[in-house]
Symmetry: D2
Subunit: 338 residues, 4 copies
């Protein structure tokens, strides 16, 4: 961090700044310039907040040089993180496809969809047992019953399970079934939950919040890693903008930005990202073209009667068509879809 002060700042103002820096166990270095006196800071400056200095006397500006995150950053670890699960890798050359319904609705539904996806070549099944819904009156998932069905379907079809956890007290239940635990967009800054999943040994799929910057997302990943769980998979799923023609604005710009700043893998969720079934395929292809390590897609054998998110779920036929196109696309961006 660099604090820019007036060149003619009273000595006391400069000392106040330096004392504040030292009280955080950092070192202060005066660097006189032509326009400003700069105070350079070394040491554990990720604990310092720019805003805490901005209104101090004689301060002109405060400039953060280093990032607030460490463990997630490419400077800390240059080579791509590849996450190994029993059912496949995430990251590296592998193009990962996670597919399935929004919610587990009943035994017949989840078994039918799982069979279709298994036959298509998919390795990971998504399906919600605990569902966050903006209205208290909407279907909120089968809960424990849903987890049981996911466990059965996993054994039957040998598919890795990706499912969401909503609160610390159900982590132990979800963990028994899930190969990848999902943190949803609305919980991206539920820091208590991040702490707790950080203590598990299961890979975490962390979805970007609707109004989270890329930096916010990386800081939330840092929370999980700071507790010892280094298997974090990021996921872009659309941000909130002024545009109302689509449910959200899938921000594919985030993909190359994330690839540059962190070693963690990044998936794209085109189903939530654009939110309209007939536009999911182009955005899925675009996500992979932008450099994503894979996709998480909603597929339902009967979307018109789905209990949630039917309007953005692909039919099995649409999914198969997309999957075939992805196979052709993968090598153009140096990926493999096996």
């Amino acid at each position: 961090m660099l604090i820019l002060m007036n060149l003619n700042a009273p000595r006391q103002d400069v000392e106040d700044i330096k004392n504040k820096i030292k009280s955080h166990n950092c070192q202060a270095h005066e660097i006189p310039g032509e326009i400003n006196l700069a105070i350079g800071i070394t040491g554990p400056s990720e604990l310092l907040y720019e805003d805490d200095f901005r209104l101090m006397k004689s301060v002109v500006d405060v400039v953060r040089v280093s990032k607030k995150y460490k463990l997630v950053s490419r400077q800390m670890k240059n080579n791509d993180t590849i996450i190994n699960t029993k059912y496949g890798k995430i990251g590296g050359k592998e193009l990962t496809i996670i597919a399935g319904p929004c919610s587990v609705e009943n035994r017949d539904q989840i078994f039918r969809i799982a069979e279709i996806l298994k036959n298509a070549g998919v390795k990971f099944l998504r399906g919600g047992a605990y569902k966050p819904r903006s209205s208290p009156y909407a279907f909120r998932g089968l809960k424990e019953e849903g987890l049981k069905l996911l466990d059965e379907v996993k054994k039957e079809f040998e598919l890795g399970i990706v499912t969401e956890v909503l609160s610390p007290d159900t982590i132990h239940l979800v963990e028994e079934v899930a190969d990848i635990i999902q943190i949803g967009a609305r919980n991206m800054q539920n820091f208590i939950l991040l702490d707790e999943v950080g203590k598990t040994k299961t890979p975490i799929l962390l979805k970007r919040g609707l109004s989270a910057t890329v930096e916010d997302l990386l800081l939330s990943a840092e929370y999980i890693m700071a507790q010892g769980n280094f298997d974090v998979i990021l996921c872009e799923r659309g941000i909130r903008t002024f545009e109302t023609a689509t449910r959200n604005t899938l921000d594919l710009n985030a993909v190359p930005v994330i690839k540059k700043n962190t070693h963690l893998p990044i998936l794209v969720d085109p189903s939530h990202g654009i939110g309209i079934r007939d536009k999911v395929q182009p955005m899925a292809l675009a996500g992979v073209a932008a450099g994503a390590d894979g996709l998480i897609i909603e597929v339902h054998h009967d979307p018109d009667n789905a209990l949630s998110d039917g309007s953005q779920s692909l039919t099995p036929e649409q999914f198969q068509k997309l999957y075939d196109k992805l196979k052709s696309l993968a090598p153009i961006v140096d990926k493999e879809l096996l």
Copy 2:
């Protein structure tokens, strides 16, 4: 809800729509027009999702007529909700001022600030014991120790306590001390937490999320009320926009919109809303002029050395000056600051 279909839609498409409506225990009414066939819906249509119909065959558009929320709405209850606490009312003619530091830091700090505020005439003290922070390395509050200090200061100065809860398992601790429990912006859609505070009997201060529409905020209030706790106080604290000159964009437009749509009281938090100390006063006055029922403001006796949010906290002198102006402003907008 109204579903608009092609006038020449095949009979089967119309029947599919009507069957779907009936399967949700609603009634379907065909209303032929000149351009479209409209299907009107009566019954508990808050359980229906527009998007579930939008991609069905022959559908041109889907229009929600009624709101998704009920208990929070002015149609349900026309007169303003006034929340009574031992320390003062919130809502109605009363202009409520909640003030205090971002975090409880130590005994000396919280006692000094409490004394200043009590003398100024303030009835409610804010102060965080559990702090959500975007970086895992930042100060996250004194936790139980902080609650204990809040309890002491409350007894000493007879101030109502407003403090945040972050997770269901600490609600019982917070509840013992808090006169008003705060749900922070990042937890506005932590639905598990909303359910749980909805089961308490303590008034809830629900802050608007950074990317939450007014409708999202009201739906989150509905969550709390659906569990039986009707004492919900809404709070506008800034949304995220493209503007970077301010930390957030305090959206005062929300105040008259909320006043029209719900009977619940609405406060404004200018400290987080604009995020820069020397601009808090104009936004505080603007919030009251826009029709808010009160303010929640950060005040610190030594903001340059605050452990969090120092740059947006008012000094005691600045607060006193603002308080005096608020006394003159209140009657212009039919409020009283006693």
Copy 3:
């Protein structure tokens, strides 16, 4: 349009609404329902504004059913518009690549870049003679001198010229040289300029404004077409959101939305869209994968010394690499890059 009124609305209120509708040469139709009385409107209702009815007595809601635009819409003309120029087609199977520097800087620069692009197979050269700049002190283009250089380079290399016009009084000059006239993002709602280019016979490349919805963009295209010029090419070039990690947020979601709503071709500008050179390639590929009819890309032989936009211009080597990848990608999305 549909106006929803209270079922028990006084007769006078209903008549007021109907009279207002008739005064705009439209017909009003009463459609009584169970919850509301709906007033359906037929006739030239694109002249009616929802907002003009919203505050009238007994009105509950106003719902626009038909779009405000006509000539641009797929309902008006179902098959894709293909624009023929002497140098190539835009739309249909063709994947169009327009490349070149931000500004024409001097004879040597524009000739060197044109030669590189011609050799790569590019058919259209972009280059600004009149430059809109947010600061009055920045380089604002060579103006007439720039147009002269574009004319020379066009004759030498047989490349179609795409260049921007800023005001009505220079249209006749630009028109002499340009094969496609560009309307920049900041002028997307400069309606006087839209009227005037609508009177020319040259194809218009219309860029989406930073805060324009897709509907706004289509309405601006409607302006041009309403004057008789039907050769309009749309261009997505990034919108303004809260994210600061990229210069703009290239909104690729707009591509499938636009493809569904209009018959006009749509290009993507990844250079302005993301604004950082090393991230242009992934976004260019993503744009084509999302279904765009082509790209407009900034290329400079010496970007570090470009007079404008150097940081987002590709080097010739980077462009060649991208061009090769586009050739492989095109057939996957049913396009040809010849």
Copy 4:
């Protein structure tokens, strides 16, 4: 500006940076630190673009220290600009109220409204003769006929006239009638138009664009001032955000930010800002409470039949009520409404 480089950057990279700086007539100063080598820049650095350096070799970050604008800045001129017109002052202690219809519709309409406003004490009448409309089929103003009516009404009632100009070729017509020329939000970055009004001697009311940052707005004011016209009045009129409950999001945060950064006066337009009649009054009061120098408000004697913007225009009775409240509010924020 400050360029941060790797401490171990090759000498050639450092020299490349320094040469580029010198080629813009600025001086480069090496400031070695512990983490980075900083290159400080002195001289006319407002001509340098951060982005031009960001991708050069060994560059870690680029930091703008000084602002891009000069003439508008408080550093250039510390005391508030007060603009004198024949009909009243704008800026300083004066609270300026500009009121009137969106469009001049006919002689009877503009005379009736002018009389009402004159009697209320208003000094400036707004009314559009040239109207920018997002649809080409909407009413676009009476044009020259409208200007003539404004001239008549001005002589009859001695009211200052505020009216919009849309293109350079009608400036001379508008200038004959207008006491203040308005540049609308959609033309805020129509740089050709800014240049031209900068050459007049009439005060300019410059409205903030829908997606313009405060810095963009100030740069557009700089355009006008750079041509010699120093009488620029800024106007906040709402930005575009994700919130759809209001037409725009009136950003009152901009008021204190603008007050700090520039000496120019700032008005607030609550009519366009929130866009719904019954919410204009609270936002008007809030604008003044936030520190604005005045308001520009739409008033119509028969809003239900207005040809444009009827839904956001106040009735004469609503305006009078607001005006009375403004008289009480003014002294609280050190203003006078005479």
